[in-house]
Symmetry: C2
Subunit: 129 residues, 2 copies
């Protein structure tokens, strides 16, 4: 039995691991933190919706094995745990190719054994403030 605080901390740790995997271009780490099922979806900023693990992992393979390098400063992170699901809302302040931008992100996680797995990532470019 876990406490609500422990759940929130575990979700936030998985959320952080997601951004660490992108920064490290580590496809194995990225793969390990997703639920590998047909119900997952992923929206990269400006992209159409990718549905199902096979399509989602292909996109991460292209991104993580591509020439780009991303660094994130994560701000305004909030987490909500509701039973066996949780969602995190945050700003990804992204430095890529010498340019800075902000991505608004919603990430959904599902409880899996002792931990949590990502089921939805939705990132979108912030074009005005």
């Amino acid at each position: 039995m876990t406490t609500p605080d422990a759940d929130a901390e575990a979700v936030l740790a998985t959320n952080q691991a997601f951004y660490d995997a992108i920064e490290a271009c580590d496809l194995d780490a990225m793969t390990a933190l997703w639920e590998q099922s047909g119900r997952v979806s992923c929206v990269h900023p400006g992209w159409t919706i990718l549905r199902g693990w096979e399509v989602v992992v292909e996109s991460w393979e292209r991104i993580l094995h591509g020439p780009g390098q991303n660094q994130f400063i994560l701000t305004n992170t909030s987490v909500t745990v509701a039973g066996d699901l949780a969602w995190v809302v945050l700003d990804e302040n992204l430095v890529a190719g010498g340019r800075a931008s902000t991505i608004a992100s919603t990430n959904i996680f599902t409880r899996a054994g002792d931990g949590w797995l990502m089921v939805v990532h939705h990132g979108s470019p912030v074009m005005s403030r």
Copy 2:
């Protein structure tokens, strides 16, 4: 006790009511289908994240009472129900001011009594296909 299929149908009906409220510029209908709490968030396409009901409803007031008129053709809608939470992923094919565009959208709902309330809306412009 509801069946999984009945839950999915009820979530999809609430999701449809969300788009109907936008098309009808009906702030009362929009207000009725959100959870009015601090944990809700809303990302309009290209906007920064709006957090908490007071901020979210202010944005809907501006949008629904503004000069714009939106019409949606919703496609590729998928729904996942997991206990007392559910999420819907879909393409909003939007006709506004004579121009067509696609918005990738993730909507999260929470069970509330016999129905469902929206807790997260995240829409983002699709810039490539």
